[in-house]
Point group: C2
Chain length 371, copies 2
């Protein structure tokens, strides 16, 4: 279905300017330290402010702003103080907290955490999910790092065609980078910080330890950041970026990975969970097996080793997410926390269409094939 | 001077058993989580307890004990709560705190921190520095990890011949490992945890992020741990380990690195300090240059790049510690903290004599050469 629509629409786009690309992008907010101990993004926004004139002269059509996502957690060199800030932006949670606050009295315990309060502050700055008519920031670029070997990964939501095209552009400008698409098309239901703006774009770079600055990770992050700003600048200038992308992806499909659906609280996407140590809920009782370590985006088959236990025994992949899976965020420090969703991420090789940013519907294709 | 003594004494040792090797070692304490977010050691002691019978049958002459160094910091996934526990064991600090405590009244603020209290508890368990006659634990093996590319590094103090021979033995059993000698010969003045026992031995393995378990780092740590326990077991059995070591190091000298002397509070050894961010004392204003990253134990010359600033400018090595230096603990997460001593460690290529564990006195040799 998507195939046919994409084919027809791409013809239209050749002779007209696609609506997504025709709206000028003005305010771009670059966020570092959404997780307080991911220092790469914090360095990048500080460095940008130190070299603001240079950046502004490079992207004159964009109003570049920066913000430290979670200042309190950053000063403590912690991922978060109470709860994962990047899980606070689901509209029900965000707006429900606002309502509950007004009901709070001195006799009732306040339900808000450091991060729920900060989420509301950021939501006001970025666009206010609770007020659908407000879209103050056009694009929010959230800079993350990971201890896993994810290289440069661009994370975008399904169905945002501007960000899909931006990701396609970045993939061309940053060879070796990958795109990971979250399959929560409805912006209001996305839990991540960048979803509070009209368009959200996450740059994830690893491996880099938490609480550490690595020059190579900073350079890779800045390369991806420059690439998306260059894309937005060229869109604003009215250049035929869509034509350029079509030349690069002639069938209209851009290779990507999509995350498996979330099944537990705290998860943005599906995970292979590990059990926790009885003495410490954030210390795993199983350790990622060395044959899996640093092998993000590589195929894992049923029977392959996943974990090692303290007694030396090995736990193999039992096929819980299919006979063959791609694992991502393997041994990510943040996923040691229950609040962030413990375990290893599961991904599926996929592709999205350049025009609508929708994932190819492999399952329905399979169904049709079987009919 | 040391040269001649070593030469004469080694002859004596061939026909007799050296005193250091003749005392049986009984209690061996293995510590994990002295820094709460260094998970490797925590995993190792938990795993040892799960497989206690196996370990005990392998080393029947040793009474193996394990302890979690800083439980409070570990539960918080932090290096420390208030101050670096591995800087709390200088006798003046340790015993002075005890005295000050007795003077505390309700009107005086208590001077003790989470770590100073824990240090006194551990000192009681390990040997009590404040009571020189007490040596309850024979050997304390402290398991550390580092975000820097230090490989397997054995850290021992100068002048402990048993630990020097143990380190020489481990270097043979763990190819590629290195020995780093701290030049604070007097046990009472050493700040590190393992100095509280009669003999202290630190196993440092990297690179591994803080708050993360890496299977390879655990395996390397366990390999070094098995090697020293094997050494102690063989010493207890009365085997001619010294002869074995002499065969391996025929000139009686064991290659090692020694740390440059400490010059600032919090430092165990000399460092090239970086300036801190004005908004966050534990966030560096300079980032380790990519050409230095992961190149621990490699020669750095005057004029080589050390750091990058937020404005993109590069800071070169100006020769503060000599024309040529070996840098260690490059970009170690713990050294982002002022309490642990910020910066990059400086080391000097050296060697120690197998019998006394004393460093070769290059400076005096140089003086003789110039005479």
């Amino acid at each position: 279905m998507i195939n046919s629509i994409a084919a027809i629409s791409s013809l239209v786009c050749i002779i007209t300017v696609c609506s997504a690309l025709s709206s000028p992008i003005n305010r771009v907010m670059i966020v570092g330290g959404t997780h307080g101990n991911e220092y790469t993004g914090v360095w990048c926004i500080k460095s940008l402010e130190m070299q603001r004139k240079k950046w502004e002269s490079k992207y004159p059509s964009l109003q570049l702003e920066t913000i430290l996502g979670n200042p309190e957690a950053h000063l403590l060199n912690k991922r978060f103080v109470d709860t994962d800030l990047n899980r606070e932006f689901v509209v029900d949670k965000l707006c429900a907290i606002d309502e509950s606050l007004s009901r709070n009295t001195i006799n009732q315990p306040r339900l808000d955490t450091v991060e729920s309060i900060r989420a509301r502050e950021l939501d006001e700055i970025l666009g206010s999910k609770c007020d659908e008519n407000s879209h103050e920031v056009d694009v929010c670029i959230d800079l993350h790092s990971t201890t896993s070997n994810m290289g440069t990964t661009i994370i975008i939501p399904e169905g945002d065609e501007l960000m899909a095209q931006a990701a396609a552009y970045v993939s061309l400008k940053c060879p070796g980078s990958r795109c990971l698409m979250h399959s929560i098309p409805e912006r209001m239901h996305r839990p991540n910080l960048s979803s509070a703006a009209k368009h959200g774009f996450t740059i994830e770079v690893g491996p880099v330890p938490v609480g550490v600055l690595r020059h190579d990770a900073v350079e890779n992050t800045e390369a991806a950041l420059h690439a998306i700003l260059d894309f937005l600048q060229r869109v604003n200038k009215g250049e035929d970026i869509y034509g350029y992308l079509q030349d690069s992806f002639p069938d209209g499909w851009v290779p990507c990975f999509r995350t498996a659906p979330a099944i537990r609280p705290g998860e943005i996407s599906g995970k292979i969970k590990w059990p926790c140590d009885p003495d410490n809920p954030n210390f795993p009782a199983l350790m990622v097996h060395k044959s899996l370590q640093d092998r993000d985006y590589q195929l894992v088959r049923k029977g392959d080793p996943l974990f090692v236990a303290g007694d030396g025994s090995v736990v193999n992949y039992e096929g819980s997410h299919g006979e063959e899976v791609y694992l991502i965020f393997i041994n990510e420090a943040g996923y040691y926390y229950q609040s962030s969703g413990t375990g290893i991420g599961v991904a599926v090789e996929s592709k999205f269409d350049l025009e609508y940013g929708m994932l190819f519907d492999f399952e329905n294709v399979d169904e049709l094939t079987y009919e």
